[in-house]
Symmetry: C2
Subunit: 326 residues, 2 copies
């Protein structure tokens, strides 16, 4: 007969029987997450905050813009995961329990989604779709304008997601370079870093794609000073966070022709307020933060694997450096 | 001292001194062709029809919708070349001298141009840009609609140009197959041919890209019967010739939801007449036959090389099978 300590027994049993996961995402649809979870883990429990019958059983929180302090409701939490690639919404919570590991989702479908969205934008610019759509309204058949704007794309914040995107862009015969805080090396994609590198990076591109993580250093980074370093008639694609961009500086740059077109998927306030000037601007494309939306079928196995890894002392997948902010 | 026959001497001299090329393209801008020719061949003469000072010196005609019979003005013509990839405009001339070889341009930049244009269209459809542009006008922030339409692309008339395009489409992670009259084999792109093959091809795609040559067999091929074989909400991209499409059948298919969006670069009559219903249709993208425009810097060396090859009895580049029509 073996002697088992009562607390150990509780832990053992709870890990088999009472484990649960909570989704805290009050601003998002979660029904497809719930459906995916029930399909993949029919014997486990997924709660949707704030309807949590047994907070003590919750070992993992899946978050998207969770209310500040809401994680404190779960005393046995072992893991906090973002529901997407970004973690700024997690790290900005001063009540984020400091001992908990934070992870994010790296999903091939999310990467694919980001790739097709950014390429849709840059080809829309390259092949003058705004112009042809305007011409159509006026029934104008213009064969004098050269049909292609020569482009060179720069990815600001080139990490795993950005590098995959850069390879696809290069694959369709379009020039592309990258910039990141830390030095990145790639055989085919020239990458820049540092203050001098940023100048060189901006000096040779006319399509700026923002894929940065949102940190104290990157907030408001796309401002007048940066936009001034692009040539006349450039294009901005922001698929990172609204707070990377100083909205008024973009409007200024569009007024003076520096920026010809902007493709914005993210905004300071979402939904974008009805009185925001972007709605009325010509040559601004607006989408409701859907450039890349995490697929729960791909994300949930990563989260459950990480929960398993924590319990077994293994290295986590896609863990966030909380101090660095990404 | 050598004896040289008078006629031979004339031929010898003419091939060095009096050779000229004529452009016959009354519906197109030709100034950039002229500039390119002067840069590349400063010692040769390029005429622009109908201003031809010395028709006898013309050995090569570069044509784009030349007027019927205009080639008969040049008694010493050795070569007729299209100014682009299509040759239907040449072959429809009943007065096309039967003894002359006909060639077309295969230009890497033209291929690149075709690739980016078709990808711009299919990504526009895939990522619902029409919808988001409409939503923007109404200041609608819709997060309930799934942001991507799943797509599988079919290239109707997959030849050299289409295969290059298919590889690029596949390269960005989008499913693609091809159809051609003759059996084509490709490691990664499934290709169909024959009547049964056409059915199989149409039965599995929802984006139809027309890249066919215009021949007696392909005129009007995109009709009600073909469109009926696509699923509800499909997309048509026509970058070949306007005459491939039965316009009324497209309108019918859009009315009943079979075709959700159409991207049309070519039309029965160009410029597209002001009273044509396509201008007023929602979800129809119109561009003025600019999907891929030949670059003279790439095209002219091909033409001049072919002229050299004719004179030296060598096999021509990109010669057209006049009987087959492409």
């Amino acid at each position: 007969m073996y002697f088992i300590h009562k607390a150990s027994l509780y832990l053992l049993l709870s890990s088999f029987f009472f484990m649960s996961v909570v989704i805290i995402a009050p601003t998002r649809r979660t029904d497809h997450w719930k459906a995916s979870f029930e399909k993949l883990y029919p014997n486990e429990t997924l709660y949707t905050w704030p309807d949590v019958a047994d907070p003590e059983s919750v070992e993992c929180a899946l978050c998207w813009y969770h209310p500040e302090g809401s994680l404190l409701e779960f005393p046995n939490l072992k893991l906090v995961s973002s529901m997407g690639a970004g973690v700024d919404h997690l790290l900005k919570d001063p009540k984020l329990p400091a001992h908990l590991p934070v992870t994010r989702i790296v999903d091939e479908l999310l990467t694919q989604s980001m790739n097709t969205f950014v390429m849709a934008c840059l080809l829309h610019f390259h092949r003058r779709f705004f112009k042809y759509e305007r011409d159509k309204k006026a029934k104008i058949w213009d064969i004098d304008t050269i049909p292609e704007i020569p482009i060179k794309v720069g990815i600001l914040g080139i990490g795993a997601l950005g590098m995959a995107l850069a390879e696809k862009i290069k694959g369709i015969g379009i020039d592309v370079i990258g910039y990141s805080r830390n030095v990145k090396l790639h055989e085919q994609i020239p990458c820049y870093s540092g203050a001098e590198g940023l100048k060189q990076f901006l000096g040779q591109i006319n399509v700026l794609v923002c894929l940065l993580p949102l940190t104290r250093e990157t907030e408001g980074i796309i401002n007048r000073e940066m936009l001034m370093q692009l040539p006349e008639g450039s294009c901005l694609i922001n698929v990172a966070r609204g707070k990377h961009l100083v909205d008024d500086d973009l409007l200024w740059a569009m007024d003076n022709g520096r920026i010809a077109e902007a493709y914005l998927d993210v905004f300071h306030t979402e939904p974008l307020p009805k009185d925001h000037p972007f709605w009325e601007r010509e040559n601004v494309f607006i989408s409701p933060h859907m450039a890349s939306v995490t697929n729960p079928d791909a994300a949930l196995p990563q989260v459950m694997e990480n929960l398993h890894r924590i319990k077994n002392g293994l290295t986590l997948w896609h863990q966030v450096d909380v101090a660095a902010g990404y």
